[in-house]
C-alpha cells in the first residue's frame, strides 16, 4: 500500500495514560496510526495493549491525554458515537439473533431502506464467505464461523477504524493461520485501518504493516515487521520476538550513526546505533538471531568462523535447535538449522564449526520507552 509519511494520521494519540488506582496500565503514550494501515499492538499479557484498544473504542476512559480519529477529537465521545467498530475476543455474537440479524444489528439504527439494508448485509456476508449461513443461530456456528460473523457485523458499519481484540486466539492453529492470510487480504481489499491486539509475535509479523511492541504500558518500538525482527531496539523486544543470542561487548569506537564494538570470540564489528542508545561505561549488549548462525560441514569455508561443541539438541520437524558451547563465551549459542544436511543427527558432544555474518549483529539499547 502506498502511504506517504506526511499524510495526516487516521489515529493520533497524544499523552495518553490510564491509571487503575496508582497502577499505570498505559502511560504517557504518543502514537500515530496511518490511514489504511494494518497496525498491530504486540506485547505480553498485562502490558496495556487491550486497555489502549478499549480506549480507542471508547470502552475505557483515559486518565489523561487525547485521541483523535481522522482529525476529530473523540476523547470524550461515547463508544456508540465513534467511527470505530470492534471484533471482540469471544466474538460476542448475539445468541438470540441469527447470522443475518447479527450482521444487520448496527444498520437498524441507520434507518436504511429495506433493500439497501439487505444488500449491505449480503455484501458483508460475502466478504467473509458466509452467504450460505445467513439463517443460522449463534449456537449452531463453529468458532471460525462466529469469528467471520463478528467481522462482517463490524465491517458492514463501514468504520474508519476496525479494532480486533485477539480475534484468532480462540481458534486452533491451522484455522488461525488460514484466518491470518484471509484477514490480511480482506484488509487490503476494504482499505479500512485495522488495529490488531495480539500477544502472538508470529501473528503480528505475518499480518501487519507496522507493529508497536508494548511493555508495562509503554511503547518499546514501533516499526515494520522486518525492522522489528531484524533490528530490535532493545533487549526486551529482541527477546519477545523469537530467539536471540545476547553477548556482552565492549565499545571501541563511536561515530555519528555507528559504533564499533568488540565481542569475545567475534572480534570487532561495526553496528548502527539504535534510537535512544547510550553506552554505560563502555559496556554494551549485542545480539544475533539463532538462524543467522550457520553450521559448516566438511570442506565448507567461511570468512568468519567459530569452533564449538554440541551441548544440546531439540528436534522440531522442519528445523533442529542446537545449543553450542564455545570456549571463551559465557553463554552457549543457540542456533536453528534446517534439517536438510543432517543437523538432526548431530550427536551431543560433537565438535563443529560455525559461520556468522558480522552484519547480522544488532546493537541493543537499554530497555526504556520510545516515543513514536
Amino acid at each position: 500500500m502506498n502511504m506517504a509519511l506526511t499524510d495526516p494520521p487516521m489515529i493520533s494519540i497524544t499523552g495518553l495514560s490510564k491509571y487503575y488506582g496508582n497502577y499505570p496500565a498505559v502511560s504517557q503514550m504518543d502514537l500515530d496510526i496511518r490511514a489504511g494501515e494494518f497496525f498491530s499492538l504486540l506485547g505480553p499479557s498485562g502490558c496495556g495493549k487491550t486497555t489502549l484498544l478499549r480506549m480507542i473504542a471508547g470502552f475505557v476512559e483515559p486518565s489523561e491525554g487525547s485521541i483523535h480519529i481522522d482529525g476529530q477529537d473523540v476523547t470524550g465521545l461515547s463508544a456508540n458515537r465513534r467511527p470505530t467498530n470492534m471484533v471482540f475476543q469471544n466474538y460476542a455474537i448475539f445468541p438470540h439473533l441469527n447470522v443475518e440479524e447479527n450482521v444487520g444489528y448496527g444498520l437498524k439504527r441507520m434507518r436504511l431502506e429495506k433493500a439497501e439494508e439487505k444488500r449491505r448485509i449480503g455484501e458483508a456476508l460475502e466478504q467473509v464467505r458466509l452467504s450460505h449461513l445467513g439463517g443460522r443461530r449463534a449456537h449452531e456456528l463453529s468458532g471460525g464461523q462466529r469469528q467471520r460473523v463478528a467481522l462482517a457485523r463490524a465491517l458492514v458499519m463501514r468504520p474508519k477504524v476496525l479494532l480486533l481484540d485477539e480475534p484468532l486466539s480462540a481458534l486452533d492453529k491451522k484455522l488461525r493461520e488460514e484466518m491470518q492470510v484471509e484477514l490480511r487480504s480482506l484488509q487490503k481489499a476494504v482499505g479500512i485501518t485495522f488495529i490488531l491486539v495480539t500477544h502472538d509475535q508470529y501473528e503480528a509479523l505475518a499480518m501487519s504493516d507496522r507493529i508497536a511492541v508494548m511493555f508495562a504500558g509503554k511503547l518499546e518500538q514501533v516499526a515494520t515487521p522486518k525492522e522489528i525482527y531484524q533490528r530490535p531496539r532493545t533487549r526486551k523486544v529482541a527477546d519477545f520476538l523469537g530467539g536471540m543470542n545476547f553477548l556482552n561487548a565492549r565499545l571501541v569506537g563511536e561515530r555519528a550513526g555507528t559504533v564499533s564494538v568488540e565481542a569475545a570470540k567475534f572480534g570487532a564489528v561495526n553496528l548502527s546505533k539504535p534510537q535512544g542508545f547510550t553506552a554505560t561505561n563502555g559496556h554494551v549488549t549485542v545480539g544475533i538471531r539463532p538462524e543467522r548462525l550457520r553450521l559448516l560441514w566438511d570442506d565448507d569455508r567461511a570468512e568468519h568462523e567459530l569452533i564449538g561443541r554440541v551441548e544440546n539438541r531439540a528436534y522440531f520437524g522442519e528445523v533442529t535447535h542446537l545449543t553450542i558451547g564455545v570456549e571463551g563465551l559465557e553463554q552457549p549459542l543457540s542456533i536453528v538449522e534446517t534439517n536438510n544436511f543432517g543437523a538432526d543427527d548431530l550427536p551431543i558432544g560433537a565438535d563443529i564449526r560455525l559461520a556468522y555474518d558480522p552484519d547480522a549483529f544488532v546493537l541493543l539499547a537499554e530497555d526504556e520507552a520510545v516515543k513514536a
Binding site: 458515537r81 470492534m86 460476542a92 448475539f94 445468541p95 439504527r109 449463534a138 480462540a170
Partner: protein
Amino acid sequence: MRNGFKLPLLPAFVILYFVFLYGPILLIPIFSFNNAAATTFPLAGFTTKWYGQLPGNSALLTAARNSMIVGVTVSLLSTLLAICAARAVTRYRFRGKKTMSGIIMAPLILPEIIIAISLLMILLQFGLGLSLFTVILGQTLFCIPYSMSVLISGFEGFDRSLEEASTDLGETAFGTFRRVTLPVVAPAILSSLLVSFTISLDEFILAFFLSGTEPTLPVYIWGQLRFAAKLPSVLALGTLMILASVILLTVAEIIRRRAESRRLQYEHGTH
C-alpha cells in the same frame, strides 16, 4: 456372590415412595368426580356437577379473583426486585455481597409461620389494616428468594461483552437493554414470573395471617372445610389448582432448560 433370590428391594421402595407421595393427592381428583357428598369408597358413580357448581359460588369467585390479583402483583414485584438483586450479585463485586444474598435468601429456610407472625405484629404496629395489600407484601418477601435463584442462574450465563458489542455498533444504553439484555435474559425472567405466581397461588400461611376479610383461594378452601357438604366442590376447586400449578411449573422449567442448553451449546462451541 450372586444371589438368585435377591428381593427387588429398591424398586419396591421406589413404588412405595411414589404411592405415599402422590396417592393422597390422586384422591382429590378422584373424589371430585364422585357422585356423593361423602369422601368414602366405594365410589358412587361419575359426575361433573361439583365442577358445575363452582361458577355459581360468588364467595369462591371473589377468592379466585383475589388470588389472581395477589398472584400477578406478587410475581411482578418479586421478579422486578429479584432482577435488581440478581444483576447486582452477578455483575458487581462489593463488600458484604455474600451477607446480602444470604439475607435475601433467608425466607427459604426460616419457618414460614414465624415470618407470618412477625409480619402481622409489625403491620398491626404500624396501624396498617389487613388486606390484599398486606398479603402481597408478605408473599413478595417470601417469593423473592425463589425468583433470585432462577434469575441468578440465568444472569450468570450473560456475557457482558454482548452489551459492549451492541454499544460498539452504535446502540444507546436503553436500546442495548431493549434489543440485547432483555431478550437474552427473557427466559429467566419468564421463568421467575411463573414460579413466583405459582408459589403465591398455593401459599396459605402468610395469606391466612395477613388477608383479613379478603380471602385468597387457599384461605377460602380452609374456611369451607368446616362444612362437610361443601367438601366435594372444594375438591373440584383443588383439582383445578393442582392442574394450574403443574402446568405453570412445567412451562417454567421447560423454558429454563431450553435456555440453559442453548447457552451450554454456545459456550461449548466457543472453547
